[in-house]
Structure formats: structure tokens, C-alpha cells
Amino acid sequence: MADEPANTLIAGRFAVDASHPLPEAGGGVPAFLAADRQSVAVKRVALAVSRDAPPRIKPLLALTEPIDNLMTPLAHGMAPAPGSRGEGYYVICTSPPGPPLSETLTAWPESALLDLVLRPVARVLDGLQRSGLTHRAIRLNNVFQAAVGQPVTLGAAWAAPPAMHQPALFESPYQAMCHPTGRGDGSIAEDVYSLGVLLVVLSAGRIPLANLDETALIRWKLDLGSFTALARESSMSGFIADLARGMLADDPEHRPPPSLLLDPANARARRVAARPARRSQRPLMLGDQAVYDARTLGYALLKDEKRAVQALRAGTVTHWLRRGMGDAGLAAAVEEVVRNQLTDPELGLRTDAILLMHAISTINPRMPLCWRGVALWPDGVAALVAEATATQGPLAALAEELLVNDIVQDWTLSEHRASRAEVVAMSFEVSSALQYLQSGGVGALLRIFYTLNPLLPCRGARMATAWVVTLTDLMRFLEQTAEAAPARLVDVELSAFIAARADRRTEMQVNALLTKTGSAAFRDRELALLKDLQGRYFPHPMPGLAKWAVTRLQPAVEQWRNRPRRAAMMAQLEALAREGYLGRLLAVVDDPAGRAADRLGAEQATMEHAAIDAELAAIAVSDTPRLAEAEHLGQALAGAIGLVALIMAALRVLMP
């Protein structure tokens, strides 16, 4: 590792030792040992980023200095992947002080919980909140302790989408029911919830409700309330119980902020009275699920889409809300949703999905966006699209449908939500990619994927082991692999990548390229695009790519009629290819005046050729006429000689 070349160092100082995995340091994310060239004695942890799950850009950019009791990101970048299999992307973090708490789970005394867990973690969360960040990875295997009596350290939460590796136990039910990649950054209240669960678990010294599967656990939490569900199986002091009750409140706004948790006594005293949820004495049966209140009803509607739609259309749900729950207002609201959606002819095949989405939101406004059985928070769309791109299949179709039809916007606006949906950062690039997707463009979902996930690599066919993130990386990669490059270099994957990661001008070039069906037109556009990319993103010699371009240009050269000119052009192109600039190659071929002269020359040559053929044909049949002519001329010549002789003789006679 000491001999690591400089170009494999991350941020010029961190060297990843991919042969030295640290299985417990990443809290579920693959982690490796990393050395810091500036502090040789200090070991760092390199967390490997998956190709299919984006790292969290906001914290990576915002956090640059180490924070106490937090595995802070220090740098991120590319380094050799484990087993020398190409490149990987790593987030370098401060190292954990010891093993995770999951290693030795014991019951903690109240004072230790307050001093070693609650206060240090609350301080970290308070700092993150001030920076507008969240952690979203507080769980047993991602909280570390150097030794008994030492404060705990929060693990890293930066190399994977927020809460992706969180077990359902540590997430509020409205987060846990989401697709793992669709949970989004959320708010600091979600971290407070996870911290509350951690306090409950450590207080009891065991994991509560461990025998329940994820769905049952969520239903249990919704039915009883999170605190009640967890506290039933856990023993804890009254102080911790009071704290945990507030921290596990179902409404995020009822949970104490981290700054309040720094003073546990105050936090304990903070009581926010929540109105108890209405419960029905008579259950509503949705399939085999018995529903007693609005919270579990929303979840049941999410889990069984077909029965949910049937129940909504048949009026079973509204009847139960009105008669069973006694909530006529809610019943009327749901009825209105059903009526509105049924009478909207523009929705087509989406009618049921939209009906269900709005019905669930109306029944329980805390529910996330529920679409065709998948729940997500809109700020998790980027990671969900990444997952969809990786897995393809139903999730890709679902993500595409969400984006094409502006479902997130529809959901956000119709329920007058606070702007958690702002989150699908509608930058110019994202808007442009969305517009392209909505217009039915080729590879549009991929383009969205690249736009929303700027640190994830290109998924080109030959890039399985390369981590190509920027256009500079791409051009470098193309140069390195030019020898094995296919005839058409810019395929759908690559064009989506270029359009997403380049500027607007290049995006328009890519769009124009994709509309070309003829091979010659495609070739011209493709080479022009690569030339521009080289000029603007990688202004260095690229002899390998230039050599490939010469092969690609050969058909264009062969369009020239004059063979010596062709040969001269090919020689010139090959000479220029060694210099490695595509622009110079294209300038040789792109010569309208020369091309016009070549055409004219070809026409003249054709005419001359035809004239020669005609003359040769005439020569072939000229023998007989020429013989007659020679005979005639010879006889005339003999006569002329005779006449001259006669005149000479006459002159001699007359003038002796």
C-alpha cells in the first residue's frame, strides 16, 4: 500500500487497501482499510459504493472536517476495486473506535444510556440538523463503542441511499414500509426515532419483536403505536420510557429535536398531546387482514392493491369509515376522491393506481406516496430509479410511470404537503431529462438515472469494471479501450450518460444523434459528438480513439471518387491519428470544396472515358475505309508525280 501510485489515491492522500476488508466497520456496507498519506499513523475506513445505489452527495459535500462521535466522510473518489477487478468508488471516513454495539448486546444502565448514547448522538444529530443533513443509519450494527464507559460513535451513512440498510425496527412505520431505496433523506425527526429505538433496545439488552417479520412489525407499530409496540416487550426505567415515548411519536413533529435531547430532563418533560386515533369496534376485512383504524387501513390498502381498489369502488371502505369508525368527514373525503378519479377519462390505465394513491393519502396523510404496491418518499426517487435501472423489470416500469406522469407532483400538490417533494431537485438538467422521458425518447429512464445520480458510473456494455462518472473519465476510458471498440461507439447507454452528464449543447447533439437512422448520418454525428467531447472535456491526444475514428471514417473517404486523393487522405488521416485529435481528422474529410471538385472531376473523367471508348470502337472498324483512302491517295499521288514530270519535261523542251 505504501507504493500506491499517486493516481490511485483518493483526494491525493487516501490509499484504499482493497485486500483488507473490515466487515464490521461499514454497518452492512462493504468496508476496507484505508491509509492516510498525511497522517500515516491514523487508519481510515473506505466504504465501497455500490454501482446500483447512489452515495449521499449532500453530506459528502457538506461534511469535510471530522466530527466527534461520528464516522465523518473525509473524501470520496475512485480507487482499485477488490480483487483487482477494475475500479471502485469509495467514501473515506474516520474509523470506528471499536466494534459495533450489535457484537455484545447487553442491557445498559440509565446513566450510561444518557451519557454515553443519548447525549453524544444528540450532539451529532444537532450538528447535522444545523447543516441541513440527516444521518438515517442509526442501528445496532452501525453504532460503535471503543470500550465500556466510552461514548458511542455513529457509523457512516454516506455510501448508500439514506436508510437503505435500516431494519424495519429502527425506522418509523411510515419509513419502514417504503422500498429500501425509496426512503429518502427525511428529516432529523427520523433520526430521533431511530435513536429512540436504540435506547429501547439497549435499555432492554435485547431486540424486541424479533420474531415478527417486517410486514407484521410495521402493522404492529401502526396498530399500537411505536412506543407501545416496543415497550410491551422491553423493560426500561421510567425516565428512559418517558424519553422514548416522545422520541417514538408517530407524528415526526411530536418528537423532540436533537438540541432538546442534549438536556434529557427537559426532553422528558416535553409532552406533546396527540389525539388518540379513532378505533372501530367492528373490523373491516380486506382479504385476511382485519383493520380497526385509519392507520392500519392505509397500510392494508397499500399491501393489497387489487382488493383495495375493489373495496374503494364498492364503497365498502367509506361505509366502514362512516359506520364502523364513525368518521363521516373522512368517509366523505374518500368518497370524493373515488368519485373524482372515476370520472376522469384522461387517466386511462392509471385510474386505479391514482385512485388508490389519493385514497391512502386521504385516509392517513402521514403515509408515503403509494403507487402500485410500492411506497416511497419523493426524496428517495433518485435511489429508486437507480435500483430500478439495476434490476429492470416491474420496478423500472413503475419508476418510469411515476416520472412520465408526474405522479410525485400530483401527490404532493393534491395533499398540500410540506415540500418534502422539493427534493426531486428540479434542476434544469432534471427538468430537461424529464421532458425527454415524457416525450418518449430513447433511453430516457437511463438519462434520468444518470442525471439524478451524478456519482454513479456509466452502465455501458464494456464498463462493468470501470467507474466512469464524468465525461473526462469517459473519454479516458474510450481512449484506453479504443482497440476493442465496436463500430458504433455511442450506443443507447452511452448516449444517455453523455446527455445526462454533459451540458445542454451536448445534450441536444445527443438527441440529434439518436434521431439518425442512416449509418452515414449516424457516423457523422457520432464523430462530431466525440470531437466536441474531446475538445471540451478532455483536450489531450487520444491516438487510440483517433485510430478507431480513422476506421470509422473509411467509408466517408471511399465516397471520394479520385483514388489517389483517397489514398492521400487515408495516409493523412493515419498520420493525424497519431497526433490524437479527432477535430483534425474530421477537418480532412469535411471539405465541401474538395468534394465538389472531386465530383466534377469524376464527371469529366466519365465523359472522357466514354469518348475514348467510342474512338477505339471507331478505330476497330476503320481498316477498310483507310485501305480505300490509301489506294485513292496513292493513285492520286502517282498522277501528281507524273504531272510534275510532264511539266518539267515541257519546260525543258520549251526553254532549252
Partner: protein, 154 residues
Amino acid sequence: MSAGGIGGRLGHATGALIVLLLGVIGGGLIALAPDIAVPSGILLAPGLVAFLFDSSSGRAIARAMLLFQAAAALRPLQEAWFRCEGLRACMDILAQPRQILTVWTMAALAWLLTQILPIGLKLLSDYRIRMRRIALEARREKLATEWGLDEAPG
């Protein structure tokens, strides 16, 4: 109208004119000086005979023979005109074997020229045409190579 056609007509016209002139000269000579006319007829006999049987355009062969014979017979005729008196004397001067042989040899020479010159001219024409064909084929080959004119279209 072709050049051959015009030449043929001109030859015929010239031949007819010569026949006319010869007829006038012959008739006049027989009438005025029969002693010169008979030996002259003997001297010019090959050409006159050829004139009767020549089938070439404009009787070109006979014409050449007559012109050659006339050139050779002009001086003896001029001498006989002034020196001889009467048919016998003129025959003695003009119809000598040596004299006849000379004039008839000229006729033969003329006939020979009309046979050889066309062959020579034909050979010359062949040579010129061959050179031209070689030049054309070379140029054709160059054009085809340079512009790919032998490639299949498309």
C-alpha cells in the same frame, strides 16, 4: 455528302476531260500531222490501252501512266516535229526500240507507283492508328484506375 463521293465525281470528271482532250489532240494530230500521230500512238500505246480498261476511280492508273509516258515522249516528239518528213522518216526517228522501251518503261513505272504508293500509305496509316490506339488505351486505363470507372456501380 462524303469526301469520297466528291473525290469520285471529281475523278470521273477529270477522266472524262482527259479523254476529251486526248480525243481532240489525237484527232487534230492525225488531221494535221499524220506522220507524227502514228508513231506517237505507238509510244503512248500502253497508256491508251490502260485508259480503255482502267476501272479505277477517275481512271487514275491510266492517267498516271499517260502522264509518265507523255513526260518521257515529249522531247522525241519535239525533235521529230522539226526533223522528220513523212511517215517513214518519222517512224524511223520515233519508233525506235530504244525510244519505245523508254516510254513504255515509264508507263510501267507509273503503274508500279499506283500499286506501291497505296500500300505504303496504308502501312503508314496503320502505324499512326496503332500509336493512337496505344495512347488512347493508356489514357483509358489511367482514367479507370484514377477514378474507379471499372468498379461496379453502386
